[in-house]
Symmetry: C2
Subunit: 395 residues, 2 copies
Amino acid sequence: VSLEDDIEAFGQIGRDGEGVTRLAWTAEIEAARAWLLQRLADLGLRASVDEAGNVLGRWESGRGTAILVGSHIDTVPHGGRFDGALGVLSALEAIRQLKQNGIRPSRPIWIAGFNDEEGALLRTSMLGSRAFVGGLDLADLREHGVAVAMAAAGFDLERLPEAKRIDQVGAYLELHIEQGHTLDERGIDIGVVTSIAGLVGLRARFTGETNHAGTTPMRSRRDALVGAARVVLALRNDARRRSDSTANVGSISAEPGAANAVPGRTVIEIDLRSSSRDHFVRLEPRARLLIAEIAAEERLDVDIELVQSKPPVELDPTLQSLIASAAEAEHASSIDIASGAGHDAMLIAPHVPAGMIFVPSRRGISHSPDEFTSPEHCLLGARVLARTLTALVTN
Amino acid sequence: VSLEDDIEAFGQIGRDGEGVTRLAWTAEIEAARAWLLQRLADLGLRASVDEAGNVLGRWESGRGTAILVGSHIDTVPHGGRFDGALGVLSALEAIRQLKQNGIRPSRPIWIAGFNDEEGALLRTSMLGSRAFVGGLDLADLREHGVAVAMAAAGFDLERLPEAKRIDQVGAYLELHIEQGHTLDERGIDIGVVTSIAGLVGLRARFTGETNHAGTTPMRSRRDALVGAARVVLALRNDARRRSDSTANVGSISAEPGAANAVPGRTVIEIDLRSSSRDHFVRLEPRARLLIAEIAAEERLDVDIELVQSKPPVELDPTLQSLIASAAEAEHASSIDIASGAGHDAMLIAPHVPAGMIFVPSRRGISHSPDEFTSPEHCLLGARVLARTLTALVTN
């Protein structure tokens, strides 16, 4: 058994044309759990599924809190074979290497295959790791219809609080593809993740006046789409000024939606990120001010809703050093890098020291069947993970 | 019977909450036809429905070609009581006035209640008047599924060519609400329409690259929505420079449509108008150039499709003079005005001299339950129409 074989085998589960679809609470993720339980058992670990659908594999050895290693096993619709999966499969590879090297861990090592990091089915992102740290809002999940989906898969929403096991964990390691193209473009093997960007999600609803496109003089219009278009560009231009920040408008609608009607209503979904704590706190007020100014200039009413807010997370400096040393020992090039994407580590880092290893994503493509990391980089990443883990359990 | 009564009674047909919905080939338009046939018969006209669902009322008098007077009887969904309807009902009122005045027309007067000017059901705008002038493309209608809708209403698509009766018409008069707010804002009673703006409809599809909103550096993005937003603003700014032109983007979509995905694809629907023939011919090439430049700057591919192109139409100068004189005789204020909206007159004007009378729309609102023209302005418009008609049939 090799890491490459595992990537190939696991990528067949939920295969959907060219892509992979494993959404939480579906038959595909259940098949993924079954596969992973078997692979963990083959390695001699105690394998189980928790109340949130996370797969846990326990190498109970030594004493004290466990080192948790893993990532997530779900995907977006028509996603790739590496996002999440590689973190779990490289953890299996790391365990193989430790066993081959005759390591007897001084403390337990747990492997996690988290459920529903993407939240693609019911917009419940990071449900698995959130349950693991005891951070779920059950009332909110009930509102989102999660209970029905869970029951259909044989799970009970009311038992989710029992999945909290963070108290038995002393540190967390997660390997992940970069999902950006910094490593790939610069030809770097390993990213030592320093932080995970904070995220502010906003929804802005502009209201102007629907009018006839041919009879309303240009100066008399209150065009909601024009206001939204100005916001799209202003947010883009603002984010371009800072290397630690991004801004995206990913969704837009204009009503009534006829070519010959001046749009009276437009809704946009905004995604703002920053890895800087100082700048993060300014994201929401700056965006609100900018939107309000443009709306006033275009004589539009605007309603701005905060959809989500996750502050940036700093990863543990000691773990960063261990990862960098492990990369050096493997003769791998490495750089410090901030993660623009959210990860399960984001939930765990506030509770215990957490470290993340990035491997290159070809052309930065992710959430796509074209997602790709070379077998060499996958294996190199797993070896860096194994060395870091070894350092943590042999002191 | 008064014009005000007719507006009230006709507005009940297809009443839908606060608005009015009479789409072609539905039970509501059939009810409107039945009502109108009865009213025409009451006036002593020979009333019939043609092969395109237009209602025709013939006052066969004198000799030569007929003066056609009318507008359309269909509406947009949840439309108002005045758009189209007022032109037909004021024609009834004009006939009443001619009869009261003992006029014996020197030539026939026909009233038209055109079907499907809005084209709201199947995007077949001006089907009725187009059939009347023999300008339909049957193959195109077959593709749009019109045959089935027509058959269900008891009509036969293959017989549409028989509705061509323009050869028996010598001139056309249409009264319509302005659907803009020039008359209302300036306190003018009557608009003497000089021209109907030409219209270019374009659909632009931008293709960039879908990427993760958090991990793709701002400078590396190929954001299709950013390109589209720049086009929305550039077209608006361009149109603002000319008083005879408008530009509108009424529809937009971004894919994949998730807040955390940089949009790889965006489609916009563009509506460009100009009442100037010189400028009209530049609308499409200018827009194509502007879109191509922005797409190149944003590193996007773009496909631009011409959806429709209708050149501007000049209305007949003699009829304009007659309408202006009629307004003066009624002690009504009047101005020359270009129509930004399309009308049945647009189809008829290339065949015979055509004239249009605008009455004020409160706040310019149209295609809405809030559409309103005062009873006084409705009646004044009908009197100007009656005077103009009298001048045409008493020479």
